[in-house]
């Protein structure tokens, strides 16, 4: 798995539960080192070992941990660049959702060896969207629930999110947008990132 993914899991545990918790997880996962480097690639098994160790150490179900990780990724101040890059997907939450259709291509444009799962969106009705995530591992859907929850807040949209389970090998999410102007959301200006 790409170092960026591993590094974000590390930062999530460190920033949310403290450096000691990360130290325990790294040890329990038998990493043999204490920090992931974001520009390197690691064996997938290491990533799964870290997630399993974190669930044990923090006493959290895997789904919940991954959802929290998703929320952390696009709402923690340390990861502001991620939030900004996601916001480039569209001016509204609904446009943003559509942009996830080519999330993997967008990611590759920025970091050529970063592989993200393929996402397909289907409009089921007014304000209702189904999202199909095709990954070589399960759990990505739960992470996306966290991401979407944080991004809906970011856009000021009231949305209901639900993980519907696995259908033909793909994780399915249901998204209901109830109120696009629910709150003012967070500030985003196109030129705000690089000053």
């Amino acid at each position: 798995m790409h170092g960026l993914i591993n590094r974000s899991i590390q930062c999530f545990i460190r920033d949310t539960y403290g450096p000691a918790a990360w130290g325990d997880v790294a040890l329990a996962a038998k990493l043999g080192f204490s920090n992931f480097e974001s520009l390197m690639t690691y064996d997938d098994e290491l990533t799964f070992a870290v997630i399993d160790a974190a669930c044990l150490r923090l006493d959290k179900p895997r789904d919940t941990l991954l959802e929290d990780l998703g929320t952390y990724l696009c709402s923690h101040p340390n990861l502001e660049p991620v939030r900004r890059l996601l916001r480039f997907g569209g001016g509204t939450f609904s446009e943003f959702l559509c942009s996830l259709d080519d999330l993997d291509e967008r990611a590759r444009l920025a970091v050529s060896d970063l592989e993200l799962p393929n996402i397909e969106l289907y409009r089921e009705g007014p304000g209702i969207v189904s999202m199909y995530c095709e990954a070589s591992y399960t759990g990505f859907g739960h992470l996306m629930v966290g991401v979407l929850r944080a991004m809906a807040d970011d856009y000021g949209t009231l949305a209901l999110l639900e993980h519907m389970g696995i259908e033909e090998g793909r994780e399915v999410l249901s998204i209901r947008m109830l109120d696009a102007g629910f709150s003012s959301g967070r500030e985003f200006s196109l030129a705000g990132g690089v000053a």
Partner: protein, 343 residues
Amino acid sequence: MAGGIDLIGLNSDVLDVVMPISLVINPTGRISRVGRTLAKMSQGEDLVGQKFSDSFILHRPRSCNMTFGILKGITGQKLRVGFRNSPGIMMKGVLVEERISGCLLLNLSFGFLVFEAVQKYGLTNDDFAQTDLAIEMLYLVEAKTAVMDESRRLNGRLQLAREEAEEQASTDVLTGLKNRRAMEQGLARMRDEQTPFGLMHLDLDYFKTVNDTFGHAAGDVVLQAAAKVLLEETREQDIVARVGGDEFALMFKGPISPEKLSKIAKRIVTRLEEPVMFEGNTCRISGSIGFTCSEFYDVPDLDQMLSHVDLALYESKDKGRACTTMVTPALLEKAKKAHEIMA
């Protein structure tokens, strides 16, 4: 008519969606319509009705006299256009002639200056046509900046790690011998394990002359030859270290008699005196040695032993070089007196 387009049906609403950064110039040279984003960029000034040449400046092709006729002559060409009142933000543009009304349509975009433009005019997603790649361009700039920052941080960490590794290295790069750090660790281990050992301090004689006469490359070859001699005259379990430019320390592990050490020291000096050839030149050096045994001391103190072999080495130098001197009570007494005289 060649090169003309038919704007019928391209009403304002359509143009605002497809070309929000565009304007129409009528045959009198005045602006008759402005796209919504361009209007936002004109910062309160109403462009409609103004002469195009009063509000805009043409950078490519350069032209001081922007009459309607001249503009008509450059339709289809790649243009560089800017606002007269806010230079700096240059736009890419193209003019086309409308067949029926005879008006000119000017469509614009930002090119590389998109970042500055977005900043200056506070543009948002909605200000760009859906097909405009401006947002993707901004996305890329930000993504690449973030990755570059990360890369810089990684390089910083790697640099630190390299410096640390170099510091922790135990080998001298030129000779392949151990370095001072490794020697200190070896001695400390002998002391802690209470293993007896012999200690020798060697300083090359005439090395500076070789260096000055034949150059540093010759000096390097001589150092390597000396290192070879030292390794050949010692055993696997001993430690040979380069502890200075032309200074070496040797540790002989295990019980060793002063006579044996003295013999080895003399043999080393003799072998160091064998000439070394470098690029047709004969390089000659020798060596001065001081040595001691841990068994001379009730409790071997490393600092003390090192200062004693130093004294013995200087005694060898004093005796006219190419000598070997053992640490003895008489030598230490002599050094103590000399020190008192100096004080």
